[in-house]
């Protein structure tokens, strides 16, 4: 090979053909070929290099320029360019190192003396060669060196260290995180990671550095990041499919395998040998330290909050920027004055600027935000182009809310069919055909501006912006991209995130050629690849679909990628199931509305005014209604009433201005306004001159009633809760009276009384009772359960008895009604006789809303024996029994209370009594809350004895026994007793009277 003469074009042609026949990527499309895929042994490439060297040396280093070489090596054939580029690529792979500058080293191995002129000549030649060969190109940075490195992936001298680094990084973050981190960020992380852990690997660090930009604005090909991203993708797929990494050793199998995966565009690795070990699956923690943090500065942007407020906002995304020179600022204060944010600079990575959002109230030509250090020096600035004075207009994508920037020279809108366009209010836009106005006044957060929502129904059109020159108005062109892109369809939520309510379907546009695509699906939450499949689309004039349901069946976050050699589309979306509220998932269920009037919050309804003027001037605001809820209003006066319907706004607020209702009804001296929400009760809001009343023993005295209005009292008896309330009609005199006394001729009972009127909603007067304690309603004669129920109330018995009685009654009570009468008892004056305990009634009513919880209890048999007891008349046995049982109850209670054990007695039952040989035996069953031994002793001992002493018959001695009984044993006995209970109570009552 050394004998090749580059001046003879047949020689270079032959040589290049020899190389080319070993080039795997030769037939790939231009721009995607890697020169590292030439499979030639090193000794052959060395020979080519030597041959090239000797040809160049013949020319002499001083004469080495692109033109002189072209002159010498043949103008028409470009093979010498390719040979030189190939040699440089091979040098980059085998020989370049950190100890020597790239071009100096290249000259050295070609045995040429290095000069800037030679270096420039090589750059020029290689630039041509890259184009000529159709190689992938690196962007920015050291563009030739990077491109040459890119050809083989990792320089051969770095392979071992690189594999070790990949091993360590994947142990640290896991393959998933590496495969899903942007390659720029990954390159930076690799460099930092390597510098920290292996500062001695200078050659590798040199290589890694070339993948990272020194400055923010520099664009550099992130080769190392792309490589690791690709390797991570391969690793995941091998693991998922259970393929042995050994397969990668064989170049043919490798090409075939890698062709299936969605790898970064510039991913090529010449030698996999040292990576096989790294890729072999093993037990390892899954990404132990979480996410790779990007230290790059993220830009300021202008967005429209389409999901909620429709405000125009400046948004600075959360970021953790870091620069080396900040290390001296550690622990000092910093600020962004534009958003009044203040923070402290910490060591890298820990320094986070949270997302900043500002509503835009006025426009600017340039928005600038700065991060300032403690001395006011600028550390970072974010600049965003604002609104040009000659085209005062802001355009947003109506769906994503992204701003669509306009190029002043030829403004054009692309890629969306719906926009919201904001301009100063006075500007009148004209529209060409094909643009539809969807909303003609979208409010704007910018003062003096207003928006319009437009839809483009044609393939292109224009918005005409007025200008001073009438014949030459400014046109903003609007077009939909002509080549159709694939789309995802499915029911989704409004806003800039892709959140679907069903699994979407992929649609491929009409095509006239057969196309093959790979589809990769990933579950982003589980961090799992779901599948990779191949799908062929045949020529068709219709869109062709791929329902994703076959792979995605549950809610979650997914990424689906469609790719082949030419195209690549990626879709990240979320799927949510139909929204359901759970008791625990909701902070606030629809609450009772909050009322306020012009003076402020209203705590108690109705609002009452003595003067009509104040009534009509009232404005009531009701909050916490349903979104757009309908509310029925009822305005009434003495003569008439009017219904009307009003509607809350989209925040659930409703303003009612009474002035607006002024002429609905004829003149009167009394008005009231009530409102009702659908399905709920009427509520009085405002009224004039309230009605007042006072209770008397057998009557009620009412003042403030209106003439020409029908009133009645509705009296609900708590002793007969299931009965309809008794109505007492109120007869008004012809002439107005100061007050009227209405007799309350009601059967025995405890009543809640309401005033009903033909004009307004019921008014609660409160509670009234004037019967005596043992007066029972007649209905109890036929209903034993009702009688028991009444006694639990009349006797002020414990809640538990009352609750049992209610259950026996099978009373379907309306909780809203119970709440009404409770609140009426608490707020209105009541009229009760002495024996009736206000608190006992209140507690019983409350028990209906919150039933008492079952208690753990223990039954005891209590045996009393009075020795040498003489009673002459049998009927006194009953009365004596009654006396004993009542005293026993109250004394037990007192005993327990003194011992801090209130309300422990739950039940007591008479079991038996007998008189034998002058000894009188009583047995009781007593059910007590679970007692401990101390409490039991307390009961058994002197307190009880003392009480019994007080009822002791003159000449008799007695004994008391307390025996705990198992529930099972006593169950039957209790049943028997319960059956007799009614009788016992009657008996008790009679006897009690007798004793007293």
């Amino acid at each position: 090979m050394t004998s090749f003469n580059f001046s003879i074009s047949e020689h270079t042609e032959e040589l290049w053909q020899q190389i080319s026949s070993h080039w795997t990527h030769r037939d790939r499309p231009a721009g995607s070929r890697f020169l590292g895929s030439v499979r030639l042994p090193k000794k052959d490439t060395d020979r080519i290099r030597n041959s090239l060297g000797s040809n160049l040396r013949r020319l002499g280093s001083n004469n080495l320029t692109y033109d002189s070489l072209r002159e010498r090596f043949n103008k028409s054939h470009q093979d010498w360019l390719k040979l030189l580029t190939f040699t440089a690529s091979e040098y980059a792979y085998y020989d370049s190192s950190s100890d020597e500058k790239f071009w100096q080293g290249f000259c050295r191995i070609l045995k040429l003396s290095h000069s800037q002129k030679v270096e420039n000549a090589f750059r020029h030649i290689i630039d041509k060669g890259i184009d000529n060969l159709g190689l992938v190109r690196a962007k920015g940075g050291h563009k030739y060196v990077s491109t040459l490195w890119l050809q083989s992936g990792i320089p051969s001298s770095n392979l071992k260290h690189f594999s070790l680094l990949v091993q360590e990084v994947s142990d640290e973050y896991g393959w998933w995180e590496l495969a899903h981190t942007r390659s720029h960020e990954l390159s930076q992380e690799l460099l930092d990671f390597c510098q920290e852990k292996h500062p001695q690997w200078r050659t590798l660090i040199h290589f890694l550095k070339s993948s990272c930009s020194e400055k923010e604005e520099d664009e550099v090909e992130p080769i190392s990041g792309q490589l690791v991203q690709g390797i991570a993708t391969v690793a995941q797929e091998l693991e998922r499919q259970g393929i042995s990494p050994e397969k990668l050793k064989d170049e043919n199998q490798r090409e075939q395998l890698l062709g299936n995966y969605d790898l970064p565009k510039n991913f090529f690795l010449r030698n996999w040998d040292s990576l096989i070990q790294v890729l072999t699956p093993k037990e390892r923690p899954k990404g132990s330290s979480g996410k790779i943090i990007s230290r790059r500065q993220k830009p300021l942007s202008l967005v429209l909050d389409v999901a909620d407020s429709l405000y125009i906002q400046l948004v600075l995304p959360e970021q953790s920027p870091w620069k080396k020179e900040w290390k001296y600022l550690g622990g000092t204060y910093c600020q962004i004055p534009e958003v009044s944010w203040q923070g402290e600079i910490l060591t890298s990575g820990e320094f986070i600027i949270p997302e900043q959002v500002v509503h835009v109230r006025s426009v600017a030509e340039l928005w600038t935000w700065q991060l300032l250090d403690h001395q006011g020096k600028c550390l970072i600035d974010w600049k965003l182009e604002g609104v040009a004075s000659d085209l005062p207009c802001l355009i947003f994508d109506a769906w994503s809310g992204d701003r669509l920037p306009l190029n002043m020279a030829s403004p054009i809108i692309r890629g969306t069919e719906e926009i919201i366009c904001f301009t100063p209010k006075e500007i009148q836009l004209d529209l060409s055909n094909g643009i539809e106005i969807l909303d003609s006044c979208v409010p704007s957060s910018i003062r003096g501006w207003q928006g319009k929502r437009f839809r483009l129904n044609a393939s292109k059109s224009a918005i005409i912006f007025p200008s001073n020159d009438k014949h030459n108005p400014q046109l903003i062109h609007w077009q939909i991209s002509s080549n159709k892109q694939p789309i995802l369809t499915g029911l989704k939520l409004n806003g800039n995130k892709s959140i679907y309510l069903e699994t979407p379907t992929f649609w491929y546009p009409p095509t006239n050629q057969e196309t093959c695509f790979k589809i990769s699906l990933e579950n982003l939450i589980r961090q799992q690849s779901i599948d990779i499949i191949t799908k062929k689309f045949l020529p068709s004039d219709k869109w062709q679909s791929i329902p994703l349901e076959q792979w995605i069946t549950e809610p979650g976050a997914y990424e689906v990628r469609f790719y082949n050699q030419e195209h690549r589309w990626s879709y990240i979306f979320e799927i949510k199931s139909a929204y359901q509220l759970f008791k625990t998932s909701v902070e606030r269920l629809p609450a009772t509305p909050q009322h306020s009037n012009i003076q402020g919050r209203v705590d108690k309804l109705p609002i009452q005014y003595k003067s009509l003027d104040k009534f009509w001037a009232e404005e009531v605001k009701i909050e916490e209604l349903w979104t757009l809820e309908e509310v029925t209003l009822l305005l009434s006066n003495r003569h008439d009433k009017r219904f009307s319907i009003v509607r809350a706004d989209s925040s659930g607020h409703l303003n009612i201005s009474l002035a607006a209702l002024y002429d609905l009804l004829p003149q009167s001296d009394w008005y009231a306004l009530d409102y009702q929400r659908l399905g709920l009760e009427w509520q009085r809001l405002v009224e004039t001159k309230p009605i007042s009343w006072t209770w008397e023993n057998q009557a009620i005295s009412i003042s403030g009633l209106q003439l020409n209005c029908q009133y009645s009292l509705s009296c609900w008896n708590f002793l007969l809760p299931q009965r309809e309330p008794v109505d007492i009609e109120i007869l008004l005199a012809e002439q107005p009276e100061e007050s009227i006394s209405v007799p309350l001729k009601l059967p025995a009972g405890i009543y809640h009384i309401q005033l009903l009127s033909s004009e307004s909603s019921p008014q609660n007067f409160g509670w009234w009772c004037s019967s005596n304690q043992y007066e029972l309603p007649d209905e109890t004669k036929e209903n034993e359960y009702l009688e028991i129920y009444c006694y639990t109330i009349l006797d002020n018995e414990p809640i538990r008895d009352f609750w049992e009685a209610i259950n026996c009654l099978n009373y379907d009570y309306d909780c809203q009604w119970i709440e009404t009468v409770i609140s009426s008892l608490q707020t209105n004056p009541y009229y009760f006789p002495k024996w009736l305990n206000f608190r006992a009634i209140l507690e019983k009513l409350q028990a209906l809303l919150e039933p008492p919880s079952p208690l753990i209890s223990q039954w005891y048999k209590l045996e009393l024996c009075f020795y040498k007891f003489s009673l002459t008349k049998n009927r006194f046995i009953d009365s004596f029994y009654s006396l004993v049982s009542r005293r026993l109850a109250s004394s037990t209670k007192r005993t327990l209370k003194n011992g801090g054990l209130k309300n422990l007695i739950l039940n007591q039952m008479y079991l038996d009594s007998s008189l034998k040989n002058g000894n009188y035996h009583f047995s009781f069953l007593i059910e007590l809350k679970n007692l401990n031994n101390r409490e039991l002793d307390l009961l058994k001992l002197n307190n009880l004895r003392f009480v019994l002493n007080s009822i002791k018959h003159k000449d008799c001695d007695f004994e008391i026994k307390f025996i705990a009984i198992k529930t099972e044993q006593i169950h039957k006995t209790i049943q028997n007793i319960k059956a007799r209970k009614n009788k016992i109570i009657k008996l008790t009552k009679k006897s009690y009277k007798n004793v007293n």
């Binding site: 909620d308 719906e418 009148q428 529209l431 499915g490 909701v586 706004d649 809203q816």
Partner: protein, 306 residues
């Protein structure tokens, strides 16, 4: 079914600060979101009209509410009790996000044939109402009184903040213009006639091409809720003596409401008292017992049943 998609869509948009409340969407958002779920091969020409029909139907069913700025949202969650005596056949209406809570509150299981039907075991009405109200769900019974239905009237209290743009100053796209309601012999939808700024009179009822109703009360324009605007339309009919004629086959009990827009309380009320006629869109069938109610309601609106 379009109506099911709409209820799913509206029930899935929640208030950002209080997810117990649904968020209102505009008609255009609804149309676009629904459209993005269609196959690109499907004809989409009259799709918007179909969506609008579906929205009207849902309003009449009491499923959704409509407000100003072309906004729609789910109605408050409620269970509708057809007959007081029969507690077993309860139908869920409104915000679907509460359906699960309704089942929880009443200890019922989802009905596989009709997910909106709740098969409660016989319970006490009041207790049921109480259990439901604790989770923000209302229990509704069918109310057949005409009295509550609002009467036709001109807007007044609704005229609060003026519409921010003069609709005549906007360059509407070709073929579209501001329309004014002018009663006459025409059917209801043809009573909206093109209107020019010059002929504008005080208290004119207008409709702009984007769908909003405006009221002109010198010197301002005010947006009216659809319901308020519809009552104003009927008021205008009454005032000028051109009642709307509605086909009513009393003997058969069939009411043909095609092309008629009703205030939503009327629509809900009529829908609750009738059954759909399977052959004709927007034709309702009324049982003999309810037929006099139809006449009473339309009498209140000032319509003529023919």
């Amino acid at each position: 079914m379009l109506t099911e998609k709409i209820t799913l869509l509206l029930s899935s948009h929640r208030h950002p600060s209080n997810p117990a409340m649904p968020l209102a969407l505009t008609r255009y958002q609804i149309v676009s979101l629904l459209r993005s779920s269609l196959s690109p091969n499907e004809e989409q020409q009259d799709f918007e009209a179909k969506v609008l029909d579906a929205l009207h139907e849902l309003q009449a069913q009491g499923e959704i509410l409509a407000g100003t700025r072309n906004c729609y949202c789910m109605a408050p969650p409620s269970l509708v009790l057809a007959e007081q005596e029969n507690l077993t056949g309860l139908l869920f209406r409104g915000d679907r996000a509460y359906l699960h809570l309704a089942h929880q509150a009443l200890h019922t299981q989802q009905n596989s044939h009709n997910p909106l039907q709740l098969d409660v075991e016989v319970q006490h009405l009041h207790r049921m109402k109480e259990c439901l109200s604790k989770v923000g769900i209302r229990l509704l019974t069918v109310d057949d009184s005409v009295e509550r239905l609002p009467s036709p009237r001109k807007p007044k209290s609704e005229l609060r903040s003026p519409w921010s743009a003069d609709p005549f100053s906007i360059n509407w796209e070709k073929g579209k213009s501001v329309r004014r309601y002018i009663p006459g012999d025409a059917v209801q939808k043809d009573r909206w006639q093109e209107c020019h700024h010059k002929s504008l009179k005080n208290q004119d009822l207008l409709k702009i091409p984007t769908g909003e109703y405006l009221w002109f009360e010198e010197p301002h324009f005010y947006e009216l809720e659809p319901d308020v605007a519809i009552l104003a339309m009927f008021e205008r009919d009454k005032e000028t003596g051109f009642p709307i004629k509605i086909p009513w086959d009393k003997a058969q009990g069939k009411l043909n409401l095609q092309g008629i827009i009703l205030q939503s309380a009327y629509a809900r009320w009529l829908w609750a008292l009738s059954k759909p006629d399977s052959d004709h869109y927007r034709t309702r069938y009324f049982q003999p017992a309810n037929r006099h109610l139809v006449e009473a309601a339309f009498n209140r609106l000032g319509c003529v049943l023919v």
